[in-house]
């Protein structure tokens, strides 16, 4: 049994699986049930000045039969009284002293507002704070959430104000609705953040009803942009985590968020630099019990790899994430088709012929349809193996290059050295 305990900037939890600040962490009842199910921590649904929510809040994008491939919401922060939330946080912490409870906070960008809310939530015994600079809808129209999180100066200043008052670790939750998330992550670090978390949701409109012409969701015939999350956003989130993890100016732990649905997703985020992960959509889709498989799966994975503690897995793939200009131009892979496994659906041929490099030949041998890759024309794009519906029918294999490794940057330096 591997040790799944994590320490994220001083916040300790029995495993790396936290519920993200969202509807699943709206109340003490829910968070306590989540802890009973096995979640290691919970980021309480964002606390702040009183707001009002609308009816009809969520929408999902299904794709080719997969329900909830993406998830959209227009729900704001908690609409429950602060006193009630604080009382429930206190009770939950008392009942689960070894689980992590982090209070997500969002107030106007004013020093006194931050000082006041920090003091009030720390008084009830939270283990840490997460500053919500990420929610893209509703609150952003009032200058909070992602409206704050898109301005590096505001991220730095507000983090600094929180740190002035905070006694517990401060996590800054970042918005992906920005060109380069490392800029705001650096700002958070300069402001004194103990950790950063990413990503919050992505600006989105889930769809338009083709019969009524209403947006999905709509509120009495009107819609507004929401925040997108779920499995569809995982690659975007993973890249942002990795970019921050390899940036030496962002030298604080990362809490990874974005489409994490199983232990494999979690392990990928951890390998790419996340000390722990936060989950929302998968729990909303399947319930709190999914954490059991997450814990078992990660445990088995670590045991198989001979790794004693999940903390030893953190960031192991970061050094493998680089700039395009530092990739070896002479590395060569080609597709290899196993005709014994191939079902002759010809999807690879069609994909290659129509949209790639026209290097898969169709022919007949002893009356049997066959496919063969002309290796000299194959650029190793992977498309055929991606569209192939049969495991093992197409393998991408390495071919030794006749020339030594060379990156684009090395090549350009070499050419420049010949300048007249």
């Amino acid at each position: 049994m591997a040790d799944l305990r994590i320490d994220l900037a001083g916040i300790k939890s029995p495993n790396p699986f936290w519920l993200a600040s969202a509807p699943p962490t709206n109340s003490g009842y829910q968070v306590q049930r989540a802890f009973e199910a096995g979640w290691g921590g919970a980021v309480w649904k964002t606390l702040g000045d009183p707001i009002l929510n609308v009816s009809s809040r969520f929408a999902a994008v299904s794709f080719n039969g997969q329900r909830v491939a993406g998830f959209n919401n227009i729900e704001l922060i908690t609409d429950r009284p602060l006193e009630v939330n604080l009382q429930e946080i206190y009770e939950t912490k008392k009942r689960f002293p070894h689980h992590a409870i982090i209070a997500s906070l969002m107030v106007e960008p004013k020093q006194e507002k931050w000082h006041e809310i920090v003091k009030r939530v720390e008084d009830v015994g939270v283990d840490g704070l997460e500053l919500n600079f990420g929610c893209p809808h509703g609150m952003a129209e009032r200058g909070m959430g992602s409206a704050s999180g898109q301005v590096p100066e505001l991220v730095e200043k507000q983090t600094y104000w929180v740190k002035e008052a905070a006694k517990t670790p401060v996590i800054v939750k970042l918005t992906p609705n920005i060109t380069d998330i490392t800029v705001t992550a650096e700002a958070a670090t300069r402001g004194g953040a103990d950790a950063v978390s990413m990503i919050n949701t992505i600006n989105s409109l889930a769809g338009v009803d083709l019969d009524t012409w209403n947006t999905v969701p709509h509120v009495a015939g009107k819609g507004a942009h929401g925040g997108y999350c779920g499995p569809a956003v995982k690659p975007i989130a993973l890249n942002m985590v990795a970019e921050c993890a390899r940036n030496p100016l962002i030298n604080v732990p990362i809490s990874g968020i974005g489409g994490i649905s199983n232990w494999q997703d979690a392990a990928e985020f951890i390998l790419m630099g996340a000390t722990g992960v936060q989950v929302c959509t998968a729990a909303m889709h399947h319930g709190f019990s999914i954490v059991e498989d997450m814990i078992d799966g990660l445990n088995n994975y670590l045991d198989d790899k001979g790794i004693a503690s999940v903390m030893d897995l953190v960031g192991r793939s970061v050094s493998r994430y680089s700039n395009w200009g530092d990739l070896d131009l002479n590395y060569k892979i080609v597709a290899e088709i196993n005709n014994d496994v191939c079902i002759n659906c010809n999807k690879c041929h069609i994909a290659c012929e129509d949209t790639s490099h026209q290097c898969i030949d169709l022919f007949t041998e002893d009356g049997r349809p066959m496919l063969k890759v002309r290796e000299e024309d194959c650029v190793g794009c992977n498309l055929c193996s991606i569209v192939c519906p049969v495991d093992g029918a197409i393998t991408m294999v390495e071919r030794k290059s006749s020339v030594p490794p060379m990156t684009w940057n090395e090549r350009q330096a070499l050419i420049s050295s010949l300048a007249k």
Partner: protein
């Protein structure tokens, strides 16, 4: 002509110049591809290289020449 054949032709020309005692003197790239000046004493030959594989191959040859100098 397939792209592979085209690059093979270009690689052959690069090798031919180098095997004939020419040295790579200058390289520039523009929208029309890569242009390489090969020089042998006073003689200068200009070769246009279009294909990606040949441009990669040329870069390796340039590296070889640089290492030998």
């Amino acid at each position: 002509m397939s792209e592979y054949q085209q690059s093979a032709e270009e690689i052959k020309k690069i090798d031919h110049h180098l095997d004939s005692g020419f040295k790579i003197q200058y390289v520039y790239e523009n929208l029309s591809g890569m242009f390489v000046e090969f020089a042998r004493q006073e003689e200068v030959m200009l070769l246009q290289i279009l294909t990606a594989d040949a441009r990669k191959y040329f870069s390796a040859k340039l590296q070889e020449q640089t290492l030998l100098q």
